[in-house]
Symmetry: C2
Subunit: 371 residues, 2 copies
């Protein structure tokens, strides 16, 4: 087994590439989609389900796990893998994004960010060093540096200042956790808002810090999709080819394929699980809303081309009934299916890259969602 952080590119097709990333809990084939296990479980889904759908890595939220049950408690259990019985790789975010989206009070200063818990209003401080400690307590395979994710409408001056802070934090993160210090990989995060020049500056400063991988942050935060894509296609090629690239919090099946086209390797998003809980389900024929009356007597599976437990076992009529009755089982069955769909999109992309027909593959999915 190669040491954690080893990343081999196994095939390319244009900028799209397949690879293998080694972590302390085994390999991750890329491109990969990471189901989001916000507070320590992928919502409604157990490890047996994750195994069944061939998930390779899941994401945990540092902000949530720090607040409850607490990173030190998890460390005493033997880390997050032991705690949630998931033996494969785990990536944790830095908590920065949740502080900005969930916390009622937050005060940025050079050392870090003061915030109030969305659970009980208690006051907390995250510093770059602190979030590394927390993520090491969780024993995350891939840790993220603390960053500030600016709003889509932030102006140049604010964004430039924010980027300085984010880079300052990235340096401190690297300083407190130098390369080779442990088996937990550390990824830097590109910020710079909607400004290409700032993003370019962000990339070059991060590369100097020699992280194990690089994430593109601050996209899909409310900006028009064209701008997001322009920034994505502009930023991704600047990142080191030899390191894994991660597009944070993105996105729709088509967004993911565009990310892969741009040369990105890793993706996470709550979309498949959140939509599952809202009754929006992805199929090879496009999205459908299982709430709709038209499915009340539909004996077909959700997706005839899907081999997941849900599609192999139940009809749309039954799934519609479960959802309509808000039965708990609906959330598991819908989530199994949507995650399978997202993973299959990824598995299909890998095949297409190996086969040299990635562009056609992406176009097929494009037709599904752009008509």
């Amino acid at each position: 087994m190669n040491p954690p952080g080893t990343f081999h590119i196994t095939a390319t097709d244009g900028s799209a590439r397949t690879g293998v990333l080694y972590t302390a809990h085994g390999i991750v084939n890329t491109p990969i989609f990471m189901p989001v296990g916000t507070v320590g479980s992928v919502k409604a889904i157990a490890p047996d389900d994750l195994e069944a759908i061939s998930a390779e890595i899941i994401l945990g939220n540092t902000y949530h796990l720090y607040l409850r049950p607490g990173d030190e408690l998890i460390a005493r259990r033997g880390g997050l893998h032991v705690f949630n019985a998931w033996e494969k790789p785990i990536l944790t975010d830095s908590g920065g994004f949740q502080i900005f989206s969930l916390s009622s009070l937050r005060k940025l200063h050079k050392d870090g960010v003061i915030f109030r818990s969305h659970i009980d209003g208690s006051k907390h401080v995250f510093t770059p060093e602190r979030v590394i400690t927390i993520q090491r307590n969780l024993n995350s395979d891939i840790m993220m540096v603390l960053d500030e994710c600016v709003a889509a409408n932030a102006d140049y001056t604010y964004t430039a200042q924010s980027l300085d802070l984010t880079i300052h934090w990235a340096k401190r993160s690297r300083d407190v956790y130098p390369k080779g210090e442990g088996d937990n990989l550390l990824f830097g995060i590109v910020q710079g808002g909607m400004f290409k020049s700032l993003r370019h500056s962000s990339v070059s400063q991060l590369i100097d810090l020699d992280f194990d991988g690089y994430a593109i942050g601050g996209l899909s935060v409310g900006e028009p999709k064209e701008i997001m894509m322009e920034l994505l296609y502009d930023t991704a090629p600047l990142l080191p080819k030899t390191k894994p690239r991660y597009l944070m919090g993105v996105g729709t099946p088509l967004d993911i394929l565009k990310g892969i086209e741009a040369g990105v390797d890793m993706f996470d998003c709550v979309l498949p699980t959140r939509n599952a809980r809202n009754g929006t389900l992805y199929t090879s024929q496009g999205k459908l809303n299982i709430k709709r009356k038209e499915y009340a007597e539909d004996d077909l599976p959700l997706d005839e081309n899907c081999s997941c437990y849900t599609c192999q076992t139940f009809s749309r009529a039954y799934l519609r009934h479960l959802f309509h009755s808000q039965e708990l089982l609906a959330f598991r069955l819908n989530s199994i299916h949507n995650l399978t769909y997202f993973l299959n999109i990824i598995f299909g992309a890998r095949k297409a890259i190996h086969g040299g027909y990635f562009f056609n593959y992406k176009q097929q999915v494009e037709q599904l969602y752009c008509n």
Copy 2:
């Protein structure tokens, strides 16, 4: 395969007995506990989970399924087994109990009962004939006759009149669905409130109608436990030895064992699944409430003597965290465990009856819950 309704006693120990009941969807070993699939799914639990915990038969609620998605819709799907992907036996109640507990308006008359849906207030009529039609639409393996379940504090006069009505309905049920008419078994229900003489009368009149099995209804409706047990031990021996006996809506592990001691074969109760959703979990050391702080750092499984997925995979600390965070996964994992516990109580009882030590077995469980 013997014809549906065939019932063989395979061992006895005092009044307790083991047996095999044949249905159109396979055999049910008795004694048996039936997980409750109220609106078409055992809450939070899929058929794969039911298989894994060795469930043999589940219960569906006629009232709920009639209102939503509708028995005719289910019939067009091929019946409830096809609809909910459960190929083993299903018992459905008559809906009577739900009308009395959930419906805002109800008006009893000789022909049946008029009630309003708890979902949308719409008006409906259940007659003895109607509930047979509904249950045949569901293609239930074991159908129950329509009955009135009187409150624990009903006086003799009311209860006697109610029993007359229930017996009248039982006759009409038998008339509209004579023995041999179909593969759906039909069980009569003993009523008579808290009055032994009325229950005796109920039993003898039902026996004249020659049902495929006999249920004891109207217990566990708010009366003191001693009275319930006295009535149970008084009524059960009067029922035909050669037919399956079913104690409706009962109960705790100890209630079930007392029922078995009295000669009852079948049980159903929402207790294991409802308690699972409330965080009350059954173990070989007694009940525990997983919410409690004392489990926050408890690395033991819920029950070291349990082989269910939950106990084999997760710690109390993790289950406490999931429940505390109200993660959807908590409901599935807790339900898998509690149902396993109830089924294991039953499987243990079978062994004990075969081994001739049922009384000791019951006493062990008694000690667990009576200290």
